[in-house]
Amino acid sequence: MSSASALRVPTAPAVPAPAREQALRPEVNQAHVRFIGLGKTYPGQAQPALQGIDLNIRRGEIFGIIGRSGAGKSSLLRTINRLEQPSQGRVLIDQVDIAPFDEDRLVALRRRIGMIFQHFNLMSAKTVWDNVELPLKVAGVAKAERQQKVRALLDLVGLADKHQVYPAQLSGGQKQRVGIARALVHDPEILLCDEATSALDPETTASILELLRDINQRLGLTVVLITHEMAVIRDICQRVVVLERGQVVEQGKVWQVFGSPQHAVTRTLLAPLQGKLPAALQGSLLPTASNRDAALVLKLVVFGEPQLSGLFADLGGQVSLLQGGVETIGEHALGRLIVSVRGSAHDTHGVLERARRWADDVEVLGYVD
């Protein structure tokens, strides 16, 4: 097989990354999946579905792609196993450009990449067992080995007793478990999840996410998932990229992006997770101080557990806690507080400076009388 040309290691062009990602930028040789200047334009459409995507996905991480519907998430995910053909740029898997692959090499590549789907995409005419066995069968794996593999995987996903059942008789969560078992039969290095929990209820979603996390840790495989549910990203991803109109608008570690989203789109997407202001407060917020006694309302984000004594000492004046809580994202605690500071309207600048000493992200929400 003349694989020399396809195996060439391409030279890496400089990847422009947002400033905050600079420090986190992985070594190039760590990248499991790498997008370089990726673009996709569908025939007959003026607006490209993807443009100028430069990303590295590291080996063994759970990587999330979020964005509004139509942002290009699905197209991006599908370039990894070439269900979608890029119009520009390259996709490298383990440093190998997959664009020139013929059918043989593409089939071999796809056996290294499992994929699960929003609507499960199980064969309705095949039993659970036959669905999971199919990828092995078409790969010409011997029967004894197939049986051993399918049994082990149905055990892993907790469906050993359902092997003779047809998909129509299963619940959504069970169908997705079959999908996961099927995606794992070739011991893939990468698992692509296309809105894998979007058709499931919250409880089932939690159990499927638990399973994905378990697989990621036990088998060490790289998971790339797309979703429009922010909670999914928060619960299992380590890093996240935000897409808007086919472009990357923000990327970074999940706890940082969720803690202090920089881009307006990210803020909008995250809004449902961030707790609303109490209605009464929302109604009385003013953009400027109406008098010297007005209180300044701040939103403070702290990476870690907030030390409140420090806050009160630093801010001075009359500090009231209006709302607050600590959530855990990955192994990181993230404190989010809304406070009002009275008696300092004349010195907003000073208050902000002191607040910034204490908090990692400070946002002025407004003033109340």
């Binding site: 196993n81 269900l83 059918e103 089939v107 071999a108 796809r110 056996r111 990449i113 499992g114 994929m115 789907f117 609507h119 995409n121 199980l122 064969m123 309705s124 005419a125 095949k126 199919l134 990828p135 069968k137 078409v138 790969a139 047809y166 998909p167 129509a168 099927r182 995606a183 070739h186 692509l192």
Partner: protein, 214 residues
């Protein structure tokens, strides 16, 4: 004597319909697969081939059977060496039934969810794997239903073939029932045909239902 004549007619009808529907099945499914997979967005996309096969199917579908039968006489003589009898009827019956069945099977194949094809590609299926393990099994209940319709349509056409000397129940009904005004023969043949069609329809429906796991 009448019993014997009617049974012979039944046997001829079953033979004509059986052979031509079997050949239509064997030729129609590949034709349907070709029509679906060579279409735009299909796994063996080939627009020109698709258009040629599609036009060919439409051509034969648009010719009424009686005319097709007469027009095919030279071809029939070439294939089976005669233009008279059961085997001579099999040729035009098959040629009429194949495109008919191919179009019905095509509809069932098209109804297979594109997500399943995508899933098969993602799991490392080659294209012929997708045809064999995904498209055909998933469309099978619909194909069985379509085949039942084809067989019933063939019984219909075979009666017409009987009228130009192919034998079968249609021939008996025409010669004795129509030309000799023997209404008893006519009614008996009608009753036999009704039972035959009912049995085939019932069997086909049951099989299709059993195969459908959705």
């Amino acid at each position: 004597m009448w019993t014997e004549r009617l049974l012979q007619g039944l046997w001829d009808t079953l033979l004509m319909v059986g052979v031509s529907s079997l050949v239509a099945l064997l030729l129609g499914i590949p034709m349907a697969v070709l029509l679906v997979t060579s279409d735009k967005g299909g796994i063996y996309q080939a627009p020109l081939l698709n258009r040629v096969v599609g036009a060919f199917v439409n051509l034969f579908r648009s010719i009424p059977f009686l005319i097709l039968m007469v027009a095919l006489i030279p071809f029939t003589r070439l294939v089976v060496g005669t233009t008279y009898g059961v085997w001579a009827a099999v040729v035009p019956l098959t040629i009429a039934a194949t495109p008919f069945f191919a179009r019905i099977a095509e509809v069932s194949l098209r109804e297979v969810d594109h997500g399943l094809i995508e899933a098969a590609q993602a799991m490392g299926c080659r294209r012929w794997h997708i045809v064999w393990h995904v498209l055909l099994p998933e469309a099978l209940p619909g194909i069985v239903g379509g085949f039942t319709i084809t067989v019933v349509a063939l019984i219909n056409s075979s009666a017409m073939a009987g009228a130009i000397g192919a034998g079968g129940l249609g021939d008996i009904a025409y010669r004795y029932g129509y030309q000799r005004f023997d209404s008893q023969v006519m009614l008996t043949v009608i009753a036999m045909l009704v039972v035959l069609v009912a049995v085939i329809q019932l069997g086909g429906d049951r099989l299709a239902r059993g195969l459908n796991k959705r």
